[in-house]
Amino acid sequence: MQIAPPDFDRMFGALADATRRDIVRRAIVGEEGVAELAEHYPMSFAAVQKHIAILERAGMVTKERIGRRKVVRANLERLRVARRLLDQYEELWRGRVARMTALVTDDTKEQNR
């Protein structure tokens, strides 16, 4: 049995905002710096900087120095972890539904006997 590290909540909290999700989406390509990212949103540079800081603290993005620029890059491993949690829960219910189906199918077989 494993207990979730506390930063799972921080991770999902960081993703709970539409602007931050969009930043992550752009950061997957990982070509833009903070200033370039800020141009996409109708808000101040400081506000975008704040969003990026929240994502950084949650480990969802990192800033990487490339020459004179600081490029914002998504942490793909983190994104996969978030997705995987829901995938596992899906598996749990798929297993249950398959067993339910087997039970319902059993009666049909008995009726046909």
Binding site: M1, Q2, I3, A4, P6, F8, D9, M11, F12, L15, A16, R21, A82, R83, L85, L86, D87, Q88, Y89, E90, E91, L92, W93, R94, G95, R96, V97, A98, R99, M100, T101, A102, L103, V104, T105, D107, T108
Partner: protein
């Protein structure tokens, strides 16, 4: 085909799964309303569930434990929020201590089950809402253990010939 759709929202921590059964809504309802039927699908084959209390009324409790291969048991309960037979059941799914009392340090997730007739088939929609990602992780860890792989294997055998087996994705 049994599971027809799965919608996941990682930001809102919800998962909705739709399944269709070639049976009446009343028959599908029995999977939930008959404790002996419930025991046959709630836990994976290596962690079968034993239902010890089953009061399917608003405010009622369903109590169960799952027994592992080494005889280890994990206890759980449902606190029934709302029931409308044979169409709707809403419950809070929680873990319990060995004496059956609710465990306060374990997460609770709310599950909403809707059963309806669609074109001569029965659609069952299950929506799960987690209070936090940590809670979701814990429920997954408790509910799956190592039994899952085996369950999937058994299911594959049952559904042999069905192209949409649970592992094919």
């Amino acid at each position: 085909m049994t599971v027809t759709a799965v919608r996941k929202n990682p930001e809102k921590l919800t998962m909705t799964l739709d399944a269709e059964f070639d049976a009446s809504p009343e028959r599908v309802w029995q999977l939930w309303a008959d404790p002996r039927q419930l025991e046959r699908w709630w836990g994976p084959p290596t962690y079968p569930a034993t239902v010890t209390a089953h009061d399917l009324r608003s405010g009622g409790l369903v109590e169960y434990h799952m027994t592992g291969p080494e005889g280890n048991q994990s206890h759980g309960y449902w606190e029934i929020v709302d029931v409308d037979a044979p169409h709707r059941i809403v419950f809070r799914d929680g873990f319990a201590n060995e004496d059956g009392t609710p465990s306060s340090d374990m997460p609770i997730n709310e599950v909403r089950v809707m059963i309806s007739e669609v074109g001569g088939q029965t659609r069952m929609s299950i929506e799960s809402i987690f209070p936090s990602a940590a809670a979701m992780e814990q429920v997954i860890a408790m509910g799956m253990e190592e039994g899952l792989r085996e369950a999937v294997g058994q299911i594959d055998a049952i559904l042999a010939g069905d192209v949409t087996s649970p592992t094919a994705r």
